[in-house]
């Protein structure tokens, strides 16, 4: 029983970080029907930036969020302007899938050249610290990562509900035509939202890089999980993504402990497929709008 609860704790901690990454992905889809397959690669890019700041300048990885996030926001805006916006027409969504995949490959390639394929991991002084709470082990870096993710998701929620920009975003998700008629600049909202989605990835990347060893090829595992999470949660629903992310973390962790580690990611995919039989639009997904 002890190890089941331990696995549960670990699953929730892990899920929080994936929730942060997935929120950006599903937000972007909700706004412009674009699946950013490069989200995983952007997380890894941020992890490398954070690692570089730590290894050369001694910047604490969690503090580096403050630096890395704005930088990647600008990068995200640039990417949207250069690559994504130019896609037009009825097949823009499908093409964006391939364009962002090409982008992910490009990022992987550049990172391979710059950093080689050695695995990296930021190791601040508290990297090995664990706390024992009620008999259960909690690693400090994981807890900090979870807290950071929670804070950032709360900030995102505030942004979307309490600001004018947030209202514009939500209006665009619900009904882009009506939103435009009401004066929302759709192009600007799309560009800024894409940047926002990438910022989420950036923050998550800084956290990721202090918990998990990574190299340029790590983005495949990330994006496979992220895509499954957003589909399970319902494309476009941030709440769904958070829910699904934590669920995924728990499922994988429990399977690793109770059955075997080699089946943990597989079991999540199976859960996804099984769920889609019953509810093809995901947990909180909306049925396709007709407009």
């Amino acid at each position: 029983m002890h190890e089941v609860v331990q696995a549960l704790i670990l699953g929730i901690l892990v899920g929080g970080i994936y929730a942060l990454m997935a929120s950006g992905l599903t937000l972007v889809f909700g706004i412009m029907k674009v699946i950013n397959v490069a989200q995983g690669a952007l997380v890894i890019l941020a992890a490398y930036l954070s690692y570089a700041l730590w290894s050369h300048l001694g910047v604490d990885p969690f503090l580096s969020i403050v630096i890395v996030t704005p930088v990647m926001f600008v990068l995200g805006v640039a990417v949207q302007l250069v690559f994504v916006r130019s896609l037009r027409g009825p097949e823009a969504s499908e093409l964006s899938l391939l364009v962002t995949w090409a982008l992910a490959l490009g990022i992987e390639g550049i990172l391979s050249v710059a950093f080689k394929t050695t695995f990296r991991l930021s190791l601040p002084s508290y990297a090995d610290t664990t706390w024992t709470v009620l008999g259960y082990q909690i690693a400090e870096v994981r807890l900090l990562g979870f807290v950071a993710s929670g804070v950032l998701l709360a900030l995102l929620s505030l942004l979307l509900t309490r600001t004018r920009f947030g209202r514009a975003v939500r209006a665009t998700v619900q009904n882009p035509t009506a939103a435009t008629l009401l004066g929302v600049d759709a192009n600007r909202v799309q560009t800024l939202s894409f940047g926002l989605g990438v910022s989420m990835a950036a923050a998550a990347g800084a956290v990721y890089g202090v918990i998990y060893p990574f190299n340029p090829g790590s983005h495949y595992d990330l994006i496979s999980r992220l895509l499954s999470i957003v589909v399970l949660g319902g494309l476009g629903s941030i709440g769904g993504a958070v829910f699904a992310a934590v669920g995924m973390g728990v499922v994988e962790s429990l399977v690793a402990v109770e059955i075997s580690p080699i089946w943990s990611s597989f079991s999540f995919f199976v859960v996804l497929i099984a769920f889609l039989i019953v509810r093809p639009q995901g947990i909180f997904g909306l049925r396709e709008r007709v407009l």
Binding site: H2, E3, K116, D128, T130, P213, S253, S260, P261, S265
Partner: protein, 404 residues
């Protein structure tokens, strides 16, 4: 639809292929350089270790040419990237043999690429001296042209450790053991073999598991190991998960009496940094090569390597030594029997061949019949502790608690 573009495209492609075929170099005249084709992973998943192999090969090329080459002819290595893809590796060797008509080929990096490449070489009767294909997949093909330039097949990496443990008096031996292993062509076979040998000797297995190669979280595994409280942990690991496993054990505050990892602790440059410099004491691993080893040509190899590439001897990756050993074997056998692949294959199946990896001798399917080194961290440094012939220090046990 309009037919012209299709026809044009087809004709153009055929013309292009024909043009490339026409510019093929025909077989080199006898007095020219000895051409050796090598497919290496210079990009993709294996690019890090691939680079080390490239360094070793190129160093050998320079060294041998500086001394006048072989049989009076200069050596020319033709190195091609295979992007860590077996399809490309096989294509590269096919190009080397049937397009470039090289005299010889050397092996690529990784068992996974060596297996299909060796098959291509075997088809055309070329010898396949190779530095990194030591997993079961290569030897299961039962090819007679393969020669693996490490002391023993990789699956036997842990045999020296097993022998040593079983040589200890019964009261000092571990009674229980846990076997976490990485799911790859070498690591879990190594752990499985060691486990079979230990179980036969009466050491109880309290936990075993295999984890996939993209496992980022060792915590569930570590917590299960800690709960089982084994005297000994035998990790079938590569470097990355080897480090994670130890870090996990440190965080879980569990320190076994004996800890062996197939890989991880055998990287003297990286290991202390990755797990914490005061966590290394008493950890065992295995190695095929050691900078201070007094094997054939090793001091000269180190000196030349540092001169060409800089750095410290302790940071030289064994992959470079393995590749260099391939060159050493080739040089010796060519000098003996000339540039005939059939004769080379026959010659290499008998006798002993000295290299920086030790003196090598192969069985009929290319498996070397020697032993790996058992290495241990003592006082913050990595030393070979067995076999006695090459040991610098004696094994220290049991392992102290973390942080000492």
């Amino acid at each position: 639809m309009s037919r012209t573009p299709v026809r044009l495209a087809v004709v153009a492609a055929c013309a292009a292929l024909a043009a490339v075929a026409a510019t093929t170099s025909s077989a080199a005249p006898q007095a020219g350089p000895i051409k050796i084709g090598i497919s290496l992973s210079l990009s993709g998943d294996f690019s890090d270790p691939g680079k080390f192999a490239e360094q070793g090969y190129k160093l050998w090329e320079k060294t041998v040419n500086a001394k006048g080459g072989i049989l009076g002819r200069q050596v020319q290595l033709i190195i091609q990237d295979d992007a860590s893809s077996p399809t490309q590796a096989a294509t590269n060797y096919q190009n080397f043999i049937t397009k470039d008509h090289v005299d010889l080929v050397f092996g690529p990096f990784s068992t996974l690429l060596t297996a299909p490449s060796a098959a291509v070489a075997s088809r055309y009767g070329y010898a396949f001296i190779e530095p990194a294909g030591g997993g079961p997949a290569v030897f299961d093909q039962k090819l007679h042209n393969v020669f693996f330039t490490q002391p023993a097949p990789i699956v036997e990496s842990g045999d020296v450790f097993v022998k040593w443990i079983l040589s200890l008096p019964k009261s000092k031996r571990p009674k229980t053991a846990a076997y976490p292993a990485l799911d790859d062509p070498f690591s879990s076979p190594i752990a499985d073999r060691m486990r079979a040998q230990f179980e036969k000797a009466g050491i109880k297995t309290v936990y075993k598991t295999i984890y996939p190669s993209e496992t980022v979280d060792m915590t569930p595994i570590v917590s299960k190991i800690a709960a089982a409280k084994p005297d000994m942990i035998v990790g079938g690991t590569q470097a990355g998960d080897g480090y994670s496993l130890i870090k996990g054990l440190v965080q879980a505050k569990y320190s076994p009496k004996f800890l062996f990892e197939a890989n991880g602790p055998n990287s003297p440059g990286e290991f202390p940094g990755k797990v914490g410099a005061n966590n290394t004491e008493g950890i065992f691993s295995s190695s095929d090569w050691y900078p201070a080893a007094q094997t054939y040509g090793n001091p000269a190899f180190i000196k030349a390597f540092l001169k060409l590439y800089g750095g410290k001897a302790g940071d030289i990756d064994p992959g470079s030594a393995e590749a260099y050993a391939v060159g050493q074997v080739a040089q010796r056998v060519i000098s003996k029997v000339g540039l005939n692949n059939a004769k080379i294959i026959a010659a290499l199946h008998t006798g002993r061949w000295p290299t920086v990896e030790g003196t090598l001798h192969w069985d009929s399917i290319g498996q070397p019949t020697g032993q790996f080194l058992l290495v241990e961290w003592i006082g913050g440094q990595l030393y070979p502790v067995l076999p006695k012939k090459v040991a610098v220090k004696s094994p220290v046990y049991p392992k102290p608690a973390w942080g000492q």
